[in-house]
């Protein structure tokens, strides 16, 4: 009985604030503290706010680029790891799991320090070797550095997901394809890729959500740019408005949808392959 009450309280504590955000995003009143009536006007207001739209665009570009890159790089890494044997593989596998566990703040600081150091070294070199009289390009923090940091972080997710799928895959399918005159490239395109594509897609969606929602890493390496979480953070310093609640609710809906799609993809594939065998 005590345990039941306890767990009920835990769930309440977890989900009531989220529920309140969703509820208050539909508040017609000006203040976040008192609920006046139902309205969707704050959604309209949020979507017509140019600062918020800029931040959203940045976030979408960053999330899409990072997810694409980490899907491609993560998949190739997973395929390469699959062919490795012995202690090297154990070490690499371990490093991947550890990188998922590393707190975002550590990745944020580390990436920031690394990037700034590299820029400090490269910028004078670029200035020196730049041929004509135009101003040489100056490397600095921005979109690219956020994309790079997010790719680094989310790549390990893709590797883990794709690795699991490859391990569950019937090896003789590859051999059967080779036996039927397919070159290694043909085998990859026609057999391996269709078999692992649900895992890659799931990895892409998870990476997208992680990147889209990420505040800590972006905050460190975004430089002068603003992503949606950074925008929300800076705007609540001026007080919590129903507009922020509306933005938060939209982010929640998008993230949850992507996560559910990813789960369904991973599940359906497992069920089907178990039925095949």
């Amino acid at each position: 009985m005590v345990m039941r009450v306890y767990s009920f309280v835990v769930y309440l504590f977890l989900y009531v604030p989220i529920g309140i955000i969703v509820l208050f995003s539909f508040n017609s009143g000006r203040h976040a503290s008192e609920f006046v009536g139902l309205s969707s006007k704050w959604y309209g207001k949020a979507l017509s706010n140019p600062f918020m739209m800029d931040a959203l665009t940045s976030s979408l570009i960053i999330a899409f680029s990072a997810a694409t890159l980490s899907s491609i790089m993560g998949t190739t890494a997973a395929l390469a790891l699959q062919r490795m044997r012995g202690p090297v593989r154990v070490i690499f596998d371990g490093l991947i799991y550890i990188s998922i566990m590393i707190p975002g703040i550590v990745i944020g600081i580390a990436t920031l320090v690394a990037l700034v150091t590299v820029f400090d070294i490269l910028n004078p070199v670029l200035a020196a070797i730049w041929p004509d009289d135009n101003r040489p390009p100056k490397l600095s923090l921005g979109y690219i550095s956020v994309i790079a940091a997010h790719t680094l972080f989310t790549m390990s997710l893709v590797i883990v997901l794709v690795r699991a799928r490859i391990t569950g895959m019937d090896r003789t399918l590859i051999e059967a394809s080779q036996d039927l005159y397919a070159t290694p490239w043909q085998t990859f395109c026609q057999i391996t890729l269709p078999q692992i594509s649900p895992a890659i897609l799931a990895g892409f969606l998870l990476s997208f959500t992680f990147s889209f929602d990420d505040f800590i890493i972006s905050f460190f390496v975004a430089g002068a740019n603003t992503t949606l979480p950074i925008y929300i953070f800076s705007s609540i310093r001026r007080g919590i408005t129903p507009e922020v609640n509306a933005i938060g609710t939209m982010v929640l809906v998008v993230s949850l949808t992507l996560l559910i799609i990813a789960q369904v993809l991973l599940r359906s594939r497992e069920n089907k392959s178990s039925r095949d065998n």
Binding site: A176, Q178, D179, L180, Y181, A182, Q190, Q195
Partner: protein, 379 residues
């Protein structure tokens, strides 16, 4: 069966001193053999004898540690699987789950650099489906089909490519008994019709005996004996082969005298037996550990009072029926003979109806002709 030098004109597959080592394990150990064009050849042996590795060496999934594999007279060293003119039917069938039956069957043709046209591909797939009696199943999904149907699709997928050699890795292991029997006959018919060399890997001696024109019995990566099913059954060169092919009664002993083809051996309790050496068997020395091997169907059973003359045999032993199994054409007796131990006897219907048969517990006389018993080296 061995060919160490020149390539035989009519051989599709040759092994020249082929070895395959996995670490310290010699999965295949210095094997030389040749498989005649158009034959139905089987690798037979228990698991771990190297038969599957041999097949994978032909397919190109493994590269030999030593020696060379020839396919159609061409050396295959370093040739990857997709460039070898062989196709394989996998034990698990390995059908592509994300493709329809027709797409599975057409897979090999679609990989060719000179792809057939769509209509030509369609036509060939339909012909293949017809060949394995699966017409109309082209649009089915792979997982919608039973084991036997998947088996046929796997066959069609391999044979549509008209390979020099078709490799079959325990293809019937997953089927139930009745279906297995049907597929054995079908495979044999198919092989005769298409005229392609079939190489089968199996641990089931009945399967190998019933389908193959040639069998190679393997043990611990080496060939024990190869030959036609009849040769292996009638003239096994050692106890291992006799034990593996068909049922055999053994009496252990050691050689006391050799007189041409006839060998005399003595058991531990001092009884002497006579038997024949088999063709191609290793030389025997006096004192060598051997076994007398008698096939159950060459052993005669008669009433307790009968002697060797009545039975028309050279030997006569008293025994007690322990078990009787009626098999229709034959009756199988397990008889406890004091000097020998348990002896299996297969008594044909004609004799059974004359004697009226025997019941468990009954005392009987058994015997055999010395020239139908073999003296085989233990190993």
């Amino acid at each position: 069966m061995t060919a160490n030098s020149a390539h035989l004109q009519d051989a599709d597959i040759e092994f020249h001193g082929v070895s395959k080592h996995f670490g310290d394990v010699k999965a295949v150990d210095n094997v030389s053999l040749s498989v005649a064009r158009g034959s139905f050849f089987s690798f037979l042996g228990p698991s771990g004898c190297g038969k599957t590795t041999s097949l994978r060496l032909i397919a190109g999934f493994e590269q030999p540690t030593h020696g060379d594999v020839y396919i159609g007279g061409e050396a295959m060293i370093g040739v990857p699987p997709h460039k070898r003119p062989v196709n394989m039917v996998f034990q698990s069938y390995a059908l592509f789950p994300h493709m329809s039956v027709a797409d599975n069957i057409g897979y090999g043709l679609r990989q060719r650099s000179s792809k057939p046209s769509k209509t030509e591909l369609r036509k060939q797939i339909d012909e293949s489906l017809e060949m394995v009696r699966m017409s109309g199943y082209g649009n089915r999904r792979v997982w919608e089909m039973s084991g036997g149907q998947q088996q046929r699709v796997a066959l069609a997928r391999a044979l549509i490519n008209r390979p020099t050699v078709l490799l079959l890795d325990e293809p019937l292991a997953a089927l139930d008994r009745k279906l297995r029997r049907d597929m054995q006959i079908e495979l044999q018919t198919l092989q005769r019709d298409v005229g392609i060399t079939f190489i089968l890997v199996t641990h089931d001696q009945e399967e190998a005996l019933s389908m193959s024109s040639n069998i190679c019995i393997m043990r611990d990566g080496r060939i024990e004996q190869s030959g036609s099913p009849r040769e292996l059954y009638d003239q096994p060169i050692n106890r291992y082969v006799a034990d593996f092919v068909g049922k055999t009664n053994f009496v252990a002993g050691s050689v006391t005298q050799i007189n041409g083809q006839t060998v005399c051996m003595k058991t531990g309790n001092g009884r002497s037996f006579f038997g024949m050496k088999t063709a191609g068997s290793p030389e025997l020395d006096v004192g060598a550990r051997v076994s007398l091997a008698i096939r159950p169907e060459l052993t005669v059973v008669g009433s307790k009072a009968s002697n060797a003359e009545d039975l028309n045999t050279d030997t006569a032993f008293q025994g007690k029926i322990r078990n009787q199994i009626f098999l229709g054409e034959h009756t199988e007796y397990l008889i406890d003979v004091e000097e020998i131990g348990d002896v299996l006897v297969l008594s044909p219907k004609s004799i059974e109806s004359a004697s009226g048969g025997f019941d468990p517990g009954e005392y009987v006389t058994i015997g055999w002709k010395n020239d139908q018993a073999h003296v085989l080296k233990d190993s």
